[in-house]
């Protein structure tokens, strides 16, 4: 798999790495997610972005040993995640992974999304639920929407992508410098973010992962809201076709 023959751990050791966990009222699961990340790789600096929780998520995360970035009010997932990216860029991290606080993403699969990044084969690695392994299938409207988005995004970025709503991702410094400066707000932000990355010709790679069922068993989006955000994302993707890249990306060392 690797060119040098050394193990992933050895090649990771020289990289400053951070795990960004955006959280909104995830006090029940956040502690376990933090412990699991640390078990997989104690070298990760874990940063929880508390997006205005009122259930003590921040305190739980801090007690579990994570750094906590407390937003003064709810920004929505896009604005919250970007806070983590800005922290990562400002503090000189080489590699950032994004992991959901609800336990959906399995930290033991971190090596899967880190491997292509460390090998220098990609700037962004996305863990995809639909690229092979696993049995996860969304149902109904959600599934239709995900298929449509995947088709549109694949066309726009001229690369076949199967899961544009996955937020289980790994970024190198180059893509980090883009997302810290320019990142879509609101929900379904991963769709826009993928198009944005394509615009800047960042090398993207999907790797198959399995995801666990959402532990608290609820999606935060109602049907009217998801229709609104779908329309918003479609507009954003369309307009972005007519926009020129404005952010200067950092070069990989």
């Amino acid at each position: 798999m690797s060119q040098s023959g050394s193990s992933l751990d050895e090649r990771l050791a020289s990289k400053k790495r951070i795990a960004i966990v955006p959280a909104l009222n995830e006090g029940e699961t956040i502690g376990r997610v933090i412990r699991e990340i640390r078990e997989v790789d104690p070298g990760f600096q874990i940063v929880v972005v508390d997006d205005g929780s009122d259930d003590g998520t921040g305190e739980v995360a801090q007690a579990a040993g994570a750094r906590v970035l407390r937003l003064p009010f709810n920004l929505g997932i896009g604005g919250a995640v970007q806070t983590g990216y800005r922290y990562a860029l400002a503090n000189g991290f080489d590699i950032a992974v994004q992991i959901d606080a609800d336990g959906q993403h399995d930290p033991s699969q971190l090596p899967l999304i880190l491997e292509p990044l460390v090998a220098g084969e990609a700037d962004i690695v996305i863990g995809s639920r639909y690229a092979g392994v696993g049995t996860y299938r969304a149902r109904g409207l959600r599934r239709v929407g995900q298929h449509i988005f995947a088709a549109i995004v694949s066309m726009v970025v001229r690369q076949s992508l199967s899961d544009t709503s996955s937020s289980f991702r790994a970024l190198n410094r180059r893509s980090l410098s883009l997302f810290a400066t320019d990142y879509p707000h609101g929900f379904l932000e991963t769709v826009e973010a993928t198009v944005l990355a394509g615009k800047y010709r960042l090398r993207m790679r999907e790797v198959p992962v399995t995801m666990r069922a959402r532990e608290q068993g609820r999606t935060s989006l109602t049907v009217p809201l998801s229709l609104f955000y779908s329309a918003k994302v479609l507009l954003a993707v369309f307009v972005s076709l007519f926009r020129r890249p404005a952010v200067r990306l950092e070069e990989e060392s």
Partner: protein, 126 residues
């Protein structure tokens, strides 16, 4: 030609409108940069109400049979422009709002780190 009574009422309304805007600026409840569009709106309506020939010409050019309707059209267009302008202002404000909220979160975390570090130093000295 626009009926005289309509012209008088429209003129008075426009003048009252302009006075209200002026008062809002004077008492610093409205910034000049946002007042400008409103002042132009009121000014144009006032001019077209007083100068009835101009309104008739405008109405004829667009093909409106009843000149006072042209007053509505002009007013409506200006209000559209003002609202659109507000949408751009709101977009910019919400963008900055997000930025500031993120800055607060980042700075607050640094502050907490410094505080816990200096507490540790105090404890070590004591």
């Amino acid at each position: 030609m626009i009926p005289f009574r309509v012209a008088v009422v429209a003129s008075i309304a426009a003048i009252v409108f302009l006075v209200v805007i002026f008062e809002l600026i004077r008492s610093r409840r409205l910034q000049e940069r946002y007042a400008l569009l409103w002042l132009i709106t009121g000014g144009v309506i006032l001019i077209l109400s007083v100068w009835r020939d101009a309104l008739r010409l405008v109405a004829e050019q667009i093909g409106i049979a009843y000149p006072p309707s042209a007053l509505f059209v002009v007013g409506f267009l200006f209000i559209l422009v003002v609202l659109l302008h507000y949408s751009t202002v709101i977009s910019e404000l919400s963008e900055r709002n997000v930025r500031l909220a993120q800055d607060i979160a980042l700075i607050e975390e640094r502050l907490r780190m410094y505080e816990s570090r200096s507490e540790g130093e105090h404890a070590a000295r004591a």
